[in-house]
């Protein structure tokens, strides 16, 4: 299933629902890179509220997506990381250094607008 990339005002919102397969994750990375270069948003929100489980590969891709967006000059905010997911990420050594995070989507939007 392809993950939709939505445009709200001048931000891109990626809301990941349920478990993320390896192919879907890679596809998202490609699509997002393309959309960023075409639509030139000011910010990207990656919402993980509905993600309960991540494995090492998906965690790596998520981290890559964030760093990639940052590299392309847009502000990235990762929102709604669940406690269990946060613990997994830390244990895998992925701290998303330099990437902003917010408790939920609303706060993420506020962060981008600030």
């Amino acid at each position: 299933m392809e993950i939709p990339i939505l445009k709200i005002d001048n931000c891109l919102v990626v809301s990941i629902q349920g478990s993320l397969t390896d192919t879907a994750a890679l596809e998202l990375q490609e699509n997002l890179a393309r959309d960023i270069s075409q639509q030139e948003p000011v910010g990207v929100l990656v919402d993980l509220t509905a993600v309960e489980i991540v494995d090492s590969f998906v965690a790596k891709v998520l981290s890559d997506i964030s760093s990639m967006s940052k590299l392309m000059g847009v502000n990235v905010v990762v929102t709604g990381i669940q406690p269990g997911v946060a613990i997994t990420l830390i244990e895998l050594g992925i701290t998303l250094e330099g990437i902003r995070t917010a408790l939920n989507l609303q706060k993420g939007i506020d962060l981008l607008r600030a």
Binding site: L89, I90, T101
Partner: protein, 274 residues
């Protein structure tokens, strides 16, 4: 006449005379004579049952119950072992008296008695360890519950006062509870207070950093307060620049000021009168 029959016939005598003998040896805890006799009666009856049916669940349960009760009452295990020794001597006396004409039987029954008393000692040891382990587990649980409170201090601010040594298990538990609290309280600021942490090593430092990183992933800012001078020196000596990514403040008061500052609030005096 078999051994079990002989013992069954003499339960009362064994119990009473053993009790009298026990009165003459020094025990750590005083035990009342009548209680002692009824206890000994139960014990001898149980031993007879065991002689008939072998070591079974009833037998193990008997000692488990006995030891649990005794430990809860504050007796120590040494007295029980001493009593068992006296009882063994008494049982051997009874056998010698009963079978003085049949030395081969005496020999055989001696072995039986020594064996069953030995088994009892093992059971007592096991039961004692079981009781103690239960106590330790209970205390550990109580300690864990007590030692990691997570306090919502103000809207969007939670405080985690850490007290005592932080091992990996406790750190994991604290991180888990902290993260859940962040989500449920919509906390934007987490203040970790380490005033009560006496020593710090690389593992503890790593655990603290993990907590801070995990909190950050959820979207809250972590403030570390109460690092003692000793602790600061240790961290420098360990050459871990672990806390460069975390805001640090001297004490909880300063931490709270920083926290309010971040969320754009301040404490002002109430205007008196109108």
């Amino acid at each position: 006449m078999g051994l079990t029959q002989t013992l069954t016939n003499n339960v009362e005598e064994i119990a009473q005379e053993t009790a009298t003998m026990i009165k003459n040896i020094p025990l750590d805890n005083e035990i009342e004579y009548s209680v002692l006799i009824s206890r000994l009666r139960e014990l001898v009856n149980q031993l007879i049952l065991t002689l008939k049916s072998g070591v079974d669940e009833d037998y193990i349960r008997f000692f488990d119950d006995l030891i649990r009760q005794k430990v809860n009452e504050g007796y120590n295990i040494n007295d029980i072992q001493r009593i068992l020794t006296v009882l063994r001597d008494k049982l051997i006396d009874v056998i010698e008296k009963e079978y003085y004409e049949q030395p081969d039987k005496i020999n055989e029954y001696f072995k039986v008695i020594v064996k069953i008393i030995g088994e009892s000692r093992i059971s007592i040891g096991k039961a004692y360890i079981k009781v103690r382990e239960n106590t330790i587990i209970q205390q550990q649980q109580a300690l864990n519950e007590l030692s990691t409170p997570i306090i919502p201090l103000f809207d969007k601010i939670v405080v985690v006062p850490l007290v005592g040594t932080i091992d990996t298990f406790r750190a994991k538990q604290t991180i888990e509870r902290l993260l859940n609290a962040i989500v449920s309280e919509h906390a934007e600021i987490v203040i970790i207070d380490v005033t009560g942490v006496p020593i710090i090593d690389t593992a503890v430092a790593q655990n603290l950093l993990n907590a801070a990183s995990a909190a950050r992933l959820l979207g809250s800012t972590c403030i570390l307060v109460g690092i003692s001078p000793d602790m600061a020196q240790t961290i420098i000596k360990l050459d871990v620049n672990l806390f460069s990514s975390v805001i640090t403040n001297t004490n909880l008061k300063k931490g709270l000021e920083t926290a309010l500052n971040i969320i754009g609030l301040k404490i002002t005096p109430v205007q008196k009168g109108r």
